[in-house]
């Protein structure tokens, strides 16, 4: 089917359908991360061994990655602004920069994990590291998914098509960013 159903074009709730749906996606993602991080916090409070394990994380690398993600979110905002102005090619360029930020984040993460595994801290070495890899890994999967979708959105936006999608992927990217802002203090700062 080429045309969209009329259903998609209605907005009885006063919000464009796409944006409404993205918020519901985020709502259901929040509880997924909420469950994982809630479990982590419960463990952390009841197990002293977590603190000594957490001492092995590198706060500077984490801080740098936080900065990278925040910067990429800024590009997503600039992309949204360009899309609102109807400047598709510029919005696409901004999205590419955002994807670049995500790539840097993943590279740093790869180095960090490589180093950790090299020092013998693997997924199965302790409950802290089980959480460390699972939570950050689940987050990294969201970064990768966001980057792939963003490349598709940039590709259509370049041709000045479907510009509203720039905003939608931007909202998602900010969410991914916020998840990291919770992960960073929990895994890197609290020692």
């Amino acid at each position: 089917m080429s045309a969209r159903p009329i259903a998609t074009t209605r907005s009885a709730a006063g919000m464009p359908t796409g944006r409404l749906a993205v918020w519901w996606v985020i709502a259901s993602e929040i509880v997924i991360f909420g469950g994982l991080l809630g479990s982590y916090v419960m463990f952390r409070l009841s197990h002293d061994s977590f603190a000594s394990d957490a001492a092995n994380t590198n706060m500077y690398i984490g801080a740098f990655n936080t900065w990278v993600l925040l910067t990429s979110s800024l590009f997503a905002v600039l992309g949204h602004k360009a899309a609102e102005e109807g400047n598709g090619p510029k919005a696409a360029r901004m999205l590419w920069l955002t994807v670049g930020g995500g790539a840097v984040f993943l590279l740093v993460k790869t180095y960090e994990w490589y180093e950790k595994i090299h020092h013998g801290h693997t997924l199965s070495s302790s409950t802290f590291f089980s959480f460390y890899y699972t939570a950050a890994g689940l987050h990294a999967l969201h970064v990768i998914a966001g980057m792939i979708i963003m490349l598709f959105v940039a590709n259509t936006a370049r041709k000045n098509l479907e510009l509203h999608r720039v905003e939608l992927i931007g909202i998602y990217w900010h969410f991914v960013d916020v998840v990291w802002i919770f992960l960073f203090p929990l895994l890197y700062i609290a020692k």
Binding site: M1, S2, A3, R4, P5, I6, A7, T8, T9, R10, S11, A12, A13, M15, T17, L20, A21, W24, V25, A27, S28, E29, I30, V31, I32, F33, G34, G35, L36, G38, S39, M42, F43, H47, S49, L123, S124, S126, T127, S130, F131, T134, L138
Partner: protein, 567 residues
Amino acid sequence: MATAPVTHHDAHGHGHHEESWFVHYFWSTDHKMIAKQYMFTGMAMALIGGFFAYCFRMQIAFPGIDVPGFGVVSPNEYNHLITNHGAIMIFWVAMPVLIAAFGNYLIPLMIGCDDMVFPKLNRLSYQIFLLSIVVLIASFFVPGGGFAGAWTMYPPLSAKPEYGLTPLGASLFVTAVALEFVAFLMGGINFVTTAMNSRAPGMRMYDIPMVVWMIVIASILFMASVGPLVAGAVMLLFDQNLGTAFFNPDKGGDPVLWQHLFWFFGHPEVYVVLLPTVGIVAEIITVFARKKLFAYRTVLYTAFGTGVLSFMVWAHHQFIAGIDPRMANIFTITTLLISIPIAEMMFVYIATLYGGAITLTTPMLWALSFIATFLVGGVTGIFLGASGADIYLHDTYFVLAHFHYTFFPIAIIGTFAGLSYWFPKMFGRMMNETLGKIHFWGTIIPFNCIFIPLFVLGAAGEHRRIFDYTNFSELARPELRQLDQFATISLLVMLGFQVLFLFNLFYSLFWGPKAEKNPWKANTLEWTADSPPPHGNWPELPRVYRGPYEYSVPGRDQDYWPQNAQN
């Protein structure tokens, strides 16, 4: 857009081009076709789940018997059968039929639009659901056999192959459940967004038919509760395969954490499947009593109240599971509180009957029997929610009978009610009333004969998930064994009557009398479309002028007043 004039759907060019047979039945984005896919898949899974029940009930009643069609049930097979019976009936029958099939079919038709807001996402959701079934069924045949650690998957039994003895089966089972959740998350987003945004012009909040409200609330409940279990499923998979230690006490993990993650979802899940059926029943009793729904808003508030409370009761499944005993007191209070909105909901339905003109058609019989039987499930829940009594009753057949008295009315009675009511719309033909009524009595009487004895057995101390009671002298008493045999024979009778249903279903599907647009003289919008509605539903999308339950309004000739009729 809400005030924009109704647009012609022809301008959008769908519904008129020819589709290949394959695209029409297997690759369709039409919400009605996807609903039927879910419906028939769910019913096929119900046959598997029912067959499993038959096998293990035969083993319980006649230990060691060579079960016709299966063979001798070994202890591991027994555990495998009960595990998958539970999981299939909840995840692959109740969820797809009640939420996905009725939700997909009814939401666009009842709110007056041409499709779901994301038709392709809808198709993808069904495909992932189908994939989850493939994974589940594959898990039955891998080396070591299918997962056999109960549908609740408590670690360490589920986490370590040396304990559960099903190395691959356990991982595939968890994967299948996780995939099923992903499918329903997609579906849920679609349902909620469609109902929020795509209502027909003129349809205000309180003009939405109850079943749409209920499916939407159920979807939100699902989305808000399933997250921790999705995370938990990932953690369990890692524990099984990658040597993590989330639930492994030897390395500092905690097995009870899983129970919290599971039941935080597991209890709201009960209401996720309950609410759609409650909505279906509301539609049916108003039509066949020709009555306005008593206190529409109260029903809605009780549904919201139940939804909120359902997040605060999960630990009543874990009273004796080693949680802090002080916590049990809080959960006893919240659990008993949740009886109030549910009881109120039932009272509203009973009050709706007052002053009606009741015709006992097949759908009405099913809807009424839901109220009558669900009350049993409701009141027996109080025994289990009260911590003091639960010390004894936990994990006995009393629990089992209780939740079958809730899930059977919800999943089976609700499906039969909805299907017999909307069948004319779905397939354009009428079902046979006589066969329908015989099937009704042939299901409802044996159903009670199965589970009332199980209450007695449970109160006498018989506990669940035991393939043979001969080792327990207190449970091997002949009078208890006879009750078990009575229940099993009732099950055979009930399963036998389902053949009649299948015959009625398929006979009516092809040879039933043609249905008119509005055979039940109902108000809601789906009855203004053709039977069955074409792709796109209406040539011109309807506009709404009033609420869905304006029956027998004084001063009108007709005793119904369709939502889209201008006057």
